[in-house]
């Protein structure tokens, strides 16, 4: 049975752990800002590159960062025995997962707000669509990163493996999401694969919002797919938590 008290207590506990680790918080908030600034000035001579990739990257950074910290945090919970201890207590598996999602989702929110302020302000990225929709999609991306991180951490036995899941699990999506080559011009097989990867829809939504001034059905559909994938990953993550182990 999911209990709001236990879910919130878990979220608060995860945030308290982060509070004791100010360097991680600093990295979390500063790194995406530095990277986007770098992107802007690396392509100083070709401003259309920043115009084209800036918005999708606003969604991809939260996903990457949240994926890494969530998978490591959950793995730590598994290897230090606190997970086993918690599962002997009256805590629903979803209490734990939603608590994590809530805590890291909050961090994603702060990170996204900061990156948005920088990119749309001083860096001068222009977006035709509404900023709030862009913000919503990038927050959904952060949540998706958290959910995927929770799920894959079940398959990592060590921190080394967990960190390797970034190139193994996220980079293929990164290549296929339409950021480098438009998805429509990909080879049929690759296009079909990119159709079932959640990151593709995150990038599609961002590209659409950059180009069009209103919010249409397609943007909403893309957002729904990203959130739906996050929910599926969370559910799969819950299935990997076992109260009884060998």
């Amino acid at each position: 049975m999911i209990s709001p008290v236990r879910t919130l207590a878990t979220a608060r506990r995860v945030l308290a752990q982060l509070r004791h680790d100010p360097r991680t918080i600093a990295l979390l908030l500063i790194v995406p800002c530095v990277l986007l600034t770098l992107l802007k000035y690396v392509f100083d001579g070709e401003p259309q590159v920043f115009e084209h990739t800036g918005a999708p990257l606003l969604g991809i950074f939260p996903l990457l960062v949240m994926f890494v910290i969530t998978s490591v945090a959950t793995l730590r919970e598994r290897t230090t025995g606190t997970l086993e201890r918690l599962l002997t207590m009256p805590l629903a598996k979803l209490d734990l997962l939603l608590g994590y999602a809530l805590a890291f989702g909050t961090m994603a929110l702060i990170q996204t707000a900061l990156v948005f302020g920088l990119t749309l302000g001083p860096l001068g990225l222009t977006v035709n669509g509404p900023t709030w929709m862009l913000f919503l999609v990038s927050l959904a991306d952060g949540l998706l990163g958290t959910a995927l991180g929770l799920f894959v951490s079940a398959f990592a036995a060590t921190e080394f493996q967990a960190v390797q899941f970034l190139p193994a699990f996220i980079l293929p999506q990164f290549l296929l999401c339409g950021l480098f080559v438009p998805r429509a011009s990909m080879q049929t097989v690759l296009h079909a694969i990119s159709d079932v990867l959640p990151l593709s829809y995150a990038v599609d939504a961002m590209t659409r919002i950059t180009a069009n001034s209103g919010v249409g059905g397609l943007e909403v559909r893309d957002l729904a797919i990203v959130l739906g994938s996050a929910a599926v990953a969370l559910t799969l993550g819950a299935a990997t938590l076992r109260r009884r182990t060998a």
């Binding site: 008290v5 236990r6 207590a9 878990t10 608060r12 506990r13 308290a16 752990q17 004791h20 680790d21 230090t80 025995g81 606190t82 086993e84 201890r85 918690l86 599962l87 002997t88 207590m89 009256p90 805590l91 109260r243 009884r244 182990t245 060998a246």
Partner: protein, 256 residues
């Protein structure tokens, strides 16, 4: 025997428990009854299966055969989750949280009263350290944070896997006094140790070797029965006896 909760079954009842880990038979078929309201010691060399047995009792161990009943319910039942306290051998608290932050979180998860963290901090003698980061504590102090977490919500059964290892003698004496106070109040502490010296501090002893219970008796009765002057000697006598009688476990303690 005395002061056990009236009318209720034993704290733990195990029949034919068989556990395999990594293809090896860790527990080949174990029977065991632990009465309520006594300090029961589970003693045996490291690697004899104590931790596996304790994991089975708290319901986190996959079992191949047999039954484990705890407080009249199958081990691991959801009704038991706030009634059984468990301390694992390795500290299982958050190193990057303070003592109080750890205990507040576990108290919320267990639905324990609001002032419970303060109460258990005092009980394990960590008063004055509540705002220290758990990572900065000594090994013994960290072990006591885990013990404090297990005391939250006043569980009826306490499963403690080597809670006194590496502690200084004064602290060890204090903890054993705490276990007896808890037992007097109706809790059942099951305490494992590989240090035979701790035997004299238990109301009842379970000696374990190679996945079997080789004795189940009081400390004095065990010495009398084996003619030994020290429990280590009794252990050796019993081991030799088990070897003589072949594979079967020798559990000659009178049924209770």
């Amino acid at each position: 025997m005395m002061n056990s909760s009236a009318g209720a079954g034993p704290a733990i009842a195990i029949r034919g428990l068989r556990v395999l880990r990594g293809g090896l038979e860790v527990l080949p078929g174990l029977d065991l009854t632990v009465p309520r309201g006594q300090v029961t010691g589970l003693l045996g060399p490291s690697g004899c299966g104590k931790s596996t047995l304790m994991r089975a009792i708290v319901g986190v161990q996959k079992i191949a055969a047999g039954s484990v009943d705890v407080l009249d319910h199958p081990a691991g039942s959801s009704v038991l989750r706030s009634r059984v306290g468990y301390v694992t051998q390795a500290p299982s608290v958050y190193a990057d949280l303070s003592v109080l932050e750890n205990l507040r979180y576990f108290a919320l998860v267990l639905g324990a009263p609001k002032n419970d963290p303060r109460r258990v901090i005092e009980e394990v003698g960590l008063t004055g350290r509540e705002h220290d980061l758990t990572a900065r504590l000594s090994g013994g102090q960290r072990a006591r944070v885990c013990l404090a977490a297990a005391l939250l919500g006043k569980p009826e059964l306490l499963v403690l896997d080597e809670p006194t290892v590496g502690l200084d003698p004064v602290l060890r004496r204090d903890l054993w006094e705490l276990f007896h106070r808890l037992a007097d109040a109706g809790t059942t502490p099951l305490v494992s140790s590989h240090v035979m010296d701790e035997a004299a501090r238990c109301d009842r002893l379970l000696l374990m070797r190679e996945g079997r219970i080789i004795a189940d008796d009081t400390h004095d009765a065990l010495l009398a029965r084996t003619g030994a002057t020290h429990i280590e000697e009794a252990f050796l006598t019993l081991t030799a006896a088990t070897a003589d009688t072949g594979d079967s476990a020798l559990t000659t303690g009178e049924p209770r």
